[in-house]
Symmetry: C2
């Protein structure tokens, strides 16, 4: 038996989640049985997609669902050895058992920090890669607009577009993030949408219009993009974070889709298994060459899981938000 803790959802949030919606629960985990492994969690991910789950799919009084990286501490499963690193989706718990299903062995590049396998080389990275190159069918040199461009997905989207020779405009929620986009990520233009209304600012920042909009926000952002889209433009719908807490701002410019023949398409990270090998190869190369810059906001300590998730909706993260339990 091993002492462990879990973070439970104890109350479905009304609007933005608050600390009182969660509880830390002490548990004891049995030793690995036949075919099982025991895993100690090292890194936990918090992501915007977790918010809608709190309203429905996430069970109450059970560990908060989400992705992470852990180390095998006991193994009765021939596929895994003690010490192996695995990617998992067992969520917010310190130690847990698994029959091996849903675990992916990780062979991290020794020249890269483990945390990048939770973002640029993980779910947010392939979301950016597949969404931009397959769903939006980006062509070299196009005009690109990325919302939440300093976020975990957006920052990778924007920099892949730069690698592909595009003109790239990003939107973000603070002057500090705006400066990071220009000075570090190398975008052509960046908008702080809290300082400048997005519609007018985007028109000024994208004088040649937009061929591809990578959508993470919805509402006024989508209306602003629709007003600027070029003929046969594509909108890859990755997220609509402005709508997740219940205040759904109506979108009014959709009729622009008709004459401009806009295609708009939704997708999720798991849609791109066929791209995975190429993605890992491209992204490892780009990261090691310094072509993809990233930011991380790492909260130290298991008990900070709920704070991390809540912080996503308050813009408290720069880049990928992670919780670190141990090295």
């Amino acid at each position: 038996m091993t002492a462990s803790r879990q973070i439970h959802l104890v109350k479905r949030p009304s609007g933005k989640p608050v600390l009182e919606d969660f509880a830390i629960v002490d548990v004891r985990v049995a030793d690995a049985g036949p075919g099982e492994v025991q895993i100690r969690n090292l890194l936990m991910s918090v992501d915007p997609y977790m918010r809608p789950q709190l309203d429905a799919n996430q069970p109450l009084n059970a560990p908060l669902l989400g992705g992470g990286i852990g180390r095998i501490t006991q193994s009765n499963n021939p596929k895994f050895a003690v010490g192996d690193l695995v990617r998992h989706s067992m969520g917010q718990q310190e130690v847990f058992l698994s029959d091996g299903r849903g675990l992916t062995l990780l062979n991290p590049d020794p020249d890269l920090p483990l945390s990048v396998y939770m973002h640029a080389l993980g779910g947010t990275g392939i979301t950016a890669y597949g969404g931009l190159l397959e769903i939006a069918a980006l062509k070299d040199g196009e005009q690109v607009f990325v919302s939440t461009a300093a976020g975990a997905v957006g920052s990778v989207v924007a920099q892949i577009a730069k690698i592909k020779g595009c003109y790239v405009v990003g939107s973000t929620g603070s002057e500090a993030k705006r400066r990071w986009l220009i000075d570090h990520a190398g975008l052509d233009a960046a908008i702080d949408y809290h300082a400048d209304p997005i519609g007018k600012a985007l028109k000024a920042a994208a004088p040649k219009g937009i061929d591809v909009y990578f959508e993470n926000v919805g509402g006024a952002h989508l209306d602003a993009a629709l007003a600027c889209m070029n003929l046969r433009g594509r909108i890859a719908v990755c997220g609509m974070i402005s709508t997740y807490n219940g205040d759904r701002e109506g979108v009014r410019n959709l009729s622009n889709m008709i004459y401009s023949r806009i295609r708009m398409e939704g997708f999720v990270a798991s849609d791109f298994p066929h791209l995975n090998a190429q993605f890992i190869s491209d992204m490892t190369g780009w990261l090691k060459a310094g072509k993809i810059k990233y930011q991380e906001t790492i909260l130290e300590g298991f008990e900070r899981g709920p704070e991390g998730l809540i912080g996503l909706f308050e813009g408290r993260n720069s880049g990928k938000m992670l919780i670190r339990l141990a090295d």
Copy 2:
């Protein structure tokens, strides 16, 4: 010289167009010069797409732009003989000259009335055919929802979907049109959205969800469809008539596109020249076999052009609205 009349836009409408926005103007048309033909208009089409043009592309104090069928009355152009029927886009004028560009020779099937070449075998027909089969990529047996299903485009969409073995729900704006959809066009279910709120009515009428939504309305219709879309559903955006007069109802359910991987795409009638031969062959066969039923609202007399256009936005047409000048 030949006496003629033209219908001019004399004032850009504020909201819904009114008769005072138009004027009938007497003109005299010269005889056909070198390379020219003179044409007498027989049928004029009024279509929803003409409304947004009144705000911008349609010149003031010039003939109202639109499609029609005319007969060659004089010809100095070897491509056209006196008596030939042509499709044109010269709009609302009785007699006019052309150098032949933009004219298409028409060889109507003797077993079909000429008017069908203005709808089922014309622009609205290929809009329905290309939008449903190419943009929405309809598969046999799918669940289909068509808005303004008793209209010129919608009624053809709905019946092609029936020919392809689909379950088809239509929405329309009166009980008489609703009955026509069930009793004559053979739809599986039809909703009078003035009598029943579209969101609740659609959920009840489409118990297996929707694979393809053919969008002509926007606003609450689109929100209702988004709430019912199945995984990897497609929305072919043909029109958003609810938004054309300026009152743009916001759309709130777009985030459903993400997890359901919805594709939504805009298009116009002229996007399908590569389908034209197959379309003419299929549609002529379907019409002669009675598999595509249609309704026409034909206003007799040139001077009724503005009334016809305005009537589109008041639901005064059943099926295709046409103005007949002569046989």
